[in-house]
Amino acid sequence: MIDDLYQETILDHSKRPRNHHPMDDANRKAEGYNPLCGDKLKLYLKMDGDIVQDASFEGAGCAISTASASLMTESLKGKTREEALKLLDKFHELLTTDTPASRDLGKLVVFCGVREYPARVKCATLAWHTLKSALDNVTEPVTTE
């Protein structure tokens, strides 16, 4: 039973999340929390000047939030801060509006099904909220609320 929400790529990344480990030499860290379900996530970035050289995360959540963090960390590598923030906007647009998915999203389009499940949008955006605070160098944990 594969449905429009739990697409193959999402299931794959939730079962075998990529970049799912702490990072000792990270120079940006941020924590995210979704009070609705109790999910917690820690994001690590290694920035070289303005460029995200490496990204990883820790934490256990639902399939949607884990896959989202996994795919996000994959797609961040090599992007500038500005490009990363632009991707965040496009991702948010994908989840909350009816506009056709932007090509820049690449693999992330698999999350288009989430817009049919308003209760799950926060699961998909937890990693991205955390990314925003990592890029802004916010040290207080960010919540999805």
């Binding site: 109790g38 256990a60 639902c62």
Partner: protein, 415 residues
């Protein structure tokens, strides 16, 4: 139906009862609705829907003091619910029945009105590890304001309160013991009679949060000897926004009003206001009249079905469901109290409750996932959340079978 269903007695005609609930006659995502979220809110029978409709169509007017026909009719049906609630709880007098928005407001009323007057610095309030946030936060706020101490009765691995530890918490500074009758997150039925007796021996008062008990068990506030008892209308098949706080008359009389406004006064001048008698002293402003009338119809409905029959049938659902769910590999039931209402909270190894909830919904099965407004309970079991199936008398063995089949298919997706 599976072979096990033969153990279920035929004494309760569930198919006939289901016909009274229009909401159950629908399909969700192409599958028959299986509603297993009754601990959050219960569905409403035609009797309730019709009573509310009739009020709005025929009798609508504000209550009390109206001399015209409609006002007299609406006052009469609203006040009739007070009599029904008195009977439902076996209260001594209908003046002990205060209408509130729900159990949450009932608890807030006591914490605010009784608490502010009676709790002093260094005093202690006892709650339990099983409480819903609504029976934690109002007391926490009171303790913060008064510099009083909040103490918590711990529980064991089954999710049962440890009475020996409770005994140790009781002392000369204990002013109030506030516990739930039945836990919403785990289904544990607390030995409230014993808890009340022990509190009284220590000279403390008691408040019982009956939100989960009212739809499932017979309540007798005189036999319990509870000082305050509260429940919500919507969990007992009535509408939302209405509930009952029962309090012993002498306590209510000594308490200051909760909110000021119309209806709760006797005389008002700019110099001085005198307050109305019980129960109106605590009922400021135009109340939820339609809700009150609807709740009256709901209490009639469950009384007619008989809470003893309801409890017996639901126990069969619990026994069947517990066995059927336990047989699913990797599934662990959270909360295995020996005295338990028909609530099954569980986790499945490697699958997050939110994913379970969404995938079950695609099959028409409504369960609740999350912390169930009982975060301390989740923390105690070291889990962020559970999936909770909570039953009512209109649920069936076939629906439990559908839940089990649904969970197997969830496991396939994540296998």
């Amino acid at each position: 139906m599976s072979a096990l269903s033969s153990v279920v007695s035929r004494g309760f005609d569930v198919e006939k009862v289901r016909e009274d609930f229009p909401v159950l006659q629908q399909k969700i995502h192409g599958k028959p609705l299986v509603y297993l979220d009754n601990a959050a809110t219960a569905q409403k029978p035609f009797a309730v829907i019709d009573a509310i409709r009739k009020f709005h169509e025929v009798d609508c007017a504000n209550i009390h003091r109206g001399v015209h026909e409609l006002s007299q009719r609406s006052t009469a049906s609203y006040e009739e619910t007070r009599v029904k609630a008195k009977r439902f709880l076996n209260a001594r007098s209908k003046t002990e029945i205060i209408f509130v928005r729900g159990a949450t407001e009932g608890i807030n009323l006591v914490a605010s009105s009784w608490g502010r007057k009676n709790v002093k610095e260094g005093d202690e309030i006892i709650i339990s590890a099983l409480e819903h946030h609504s029976n934690i936060v109002p007391w926490q706020m009171l303790c913060e304001e008064k510099n009083a101490k909040l103490r918590v009765i711990p529980m064991n691995d089954r999710g049962e309160l440890i009475i020996e530890e409770y005994e140790k918490l009781l002392g000369p500074r204990t002013r109030m013991v506030a516990v739930g009758h039945i836990s919403n997150a785990l289904g544990t039925i607390n030995p409230v009679r014993q808890i009340i007796e022990m509190a009284h021996r220590a000279g403390a008062l008691t408040l019982i949060d009956g939100a989960q008990a009212a739809p499932h068990t017979k309540i007798d506030v005189q036999a319990l000897d509870s000082d305050f008892y509260t429940f919500s209308g919507h969990k007992v098949f009535g509408p939302t926004g209405i509930g009952v706080l029962h309090g012993k008359k002498k306590l209510l009389e000594a308490m200051p009003p909760y909110q000021g406004g119309g209806d709760m006064i006797r005389t008002v001048t700019f110099e001085k206001t005198t307050y109305n008698e019980l129960p109106y002293k605590f009922e400021a402003g135009t109340p939820n009249i339609a809700g009150g009338i609807g709740m009256g119809a709901a209490l009639d409905y469950v009384t007619k079905l008989g809470l003893d029959h309801i409890a017996a049938y639901e126990h069969e659902l619990l026994v069947y469901g517990t066995k059927a769910l336990s047989e699913i590999p990797g599934l662990r039931i959270i909360g295995t109290a020996r005295e338990k209402a028909a609530v099954i909270s569980f986790v499945i190894e490697g699958i997050h409750p939110h994913d379970i909830g969404t995938l079950l919904d695609r099959q028409g099965i409504a369960v609740r996932t999350g912390h169930h407004c009982a975060q301390p309970v989740m923390d105690w079991f070291h889990i962020p959340a559970t999936t909770r199936a909570s039953f009512a008398f209109y649920n069936t063995i076939a629906e439990i079978d559908a839940l089990v089949a649904g969970l197997h298919s969830v496991k396939e997706v994540f296998g």
